[in-house]
Symmetry: C2
Subunit: 261 residues, 2 copies
């Protein structure tokens, strides 16, 4: 367990264009040490990977990126869709976003953020000789609580959970269900230096080297809870309406049987 | 926007007993500077405030702390209740927890975590002369994602949101809906040095002084989204069952009207 760590924003990165060699650009922009964890805003990975479409195609892009609609809400002039996207992440608009995208365009999330993270970790480890971990972050809202936090949508070379199951608390009692999602905590911490508008898309986390590991550790996909095990797999209104239809139909069916007897 | 900050665990605090002067103990345990944010595990505040009951009374304590049941799930030999507690926080078992509690007891959350945070901020500011912010943290699970993160359940003297609404991104477009919950991000970051079992219940965050402010800033209660505005105010099964009953009853009522005509 670290007693101290620091987080520093990486300044001076150029605007990222399609095909950019992000690993080389990041390695050149800052000193990187063994055990560092680099938190990279997924937007610049999307740009480097050319995951960009015309703004006019935004609604279609959201539909294309959507695996499953979880909830939706109408507001003045539109509908917000909370969906599970192809990456397994549940969030608004499938991560399709105009902010920090070139004018007239929207950015999609990387196709496979864990694979992108692994490529970056491999590249930066090779270029610097430093054993680093990589987390790709995105800004996401959440149920029950206002505002957004940055969370890990891709990871490589870093433990996404600190598995305390089986260990004990300070008084010796087992911590049976505790499994902190350190990747999400690190992604959120990095937002505090990266911000949304400051042009600082990368942060270096130093002092948490005990969380850095092999490149074949489970990625951020392992954070996603399968829908069938999720108590909140569907919005309350959507679930209510589904139940209402089923209950109504069941009553009608029973009445039809009774009438035919 | 900070370019760098650090988080350090405060070691050497004594075991906290009922009536302990936490502000004095924390001020004595570490150097505190202007602009520091202290993240304090709510458990030690509960202990100082005597929020402790016999383990045999755990189920009753959960019921007493519960304002509203959001969802529940049966598992081998028990039921997990996800509830909104008196503090407005939605989580498992209303925050009633045996870990790090004295043997045979369970800890309840502080009655009013924002008030506790305000008292600590007032006390530590008076003792040290340093303008500090205080965040009380608790470990909470969440929908959609496995594992837990530490979140802010109490706050004083610190902005809980960094309100970017109305500001612009790096390319000049308005960030219309972005409002990072910095208090939650800071609480999660502090977990990375505090851990669950290391006996380090306080962390000092240095370098985010721009988020420190007056003692009358909105507390962590302002993070809670009112249920009526929450798409996930009720578990999917609970909402489905409620809809099913209503749909069934409506069909029966319609049939009764038809039969009487």
């Amino acid at each position: 367990m670290a007693v101290k760590f620091s987080i520093e924003g990486v300044e001076g990165l150029p605007e990222i264009a399609g095909g950019a060699d992000l690993a080389a650009l990041i390695a050149a922009a800052t000193d990187i040490e063994d055990g560092d964890i680099l938190v990279i805003t997924s937007k610049i990975v999307s740009k480097a990977e050319g995951r960009i479409v015309q703004a006019a195609d935004r609604e279609q892009a959201i539909t294309d990126e959507t695996v499953r609609v979880v909830a939706s809400r109408e507001f003045d002039g539109g509908v917000t869709r909370i969906v599970e996207n192809r990456q397994g992440v549940i969030g608004a608009a499938a991560g399709v976003d105009a902010s920090n995208a070139p004018d007239g365009t929207v950015l999609l999330l990387p196709i496979d953020p864990d694979a992108s993270a692994r490529a970056l970790a491999t590249g930066i480890r090779a270029l610097t000789g430093a054993r680093v971990g990589i987390i790709l972050s995105d800004t996401l809202g959440r149920p029950w609580r206002e505002g957004q936090t940055d969370l890990a949508i891709g990871a490589a070379g870093v433990h996404v959970f600190e598995d305390l199951r089986g260990s004990t608390d300070a008084s010796g009692k087992p911590l049976s269900v505790t499994m902190p999602c350190v990747a999400d905590e690190i992604a959120g911490a990095a937002e505090l230096v990266k911000g949304k508008s400051s042009g600082v898309p990368v942060a270096v986390v130093r002092g948490l080297g005990h969380l850095v590991g092999d490149l074949d550790l489970p990625g951020a996909r392992s954070i996603q809870r399968p829908a069938e095990r999720d108590l909140f797999r569907l919005g309350a209104d959507e679930a209510y309406n589904e139940g209402y239809r089923d209950g109504f139909d069941e009553s009608q069916a029973e009445a039809a049987v009774a009438a035919s007897e």
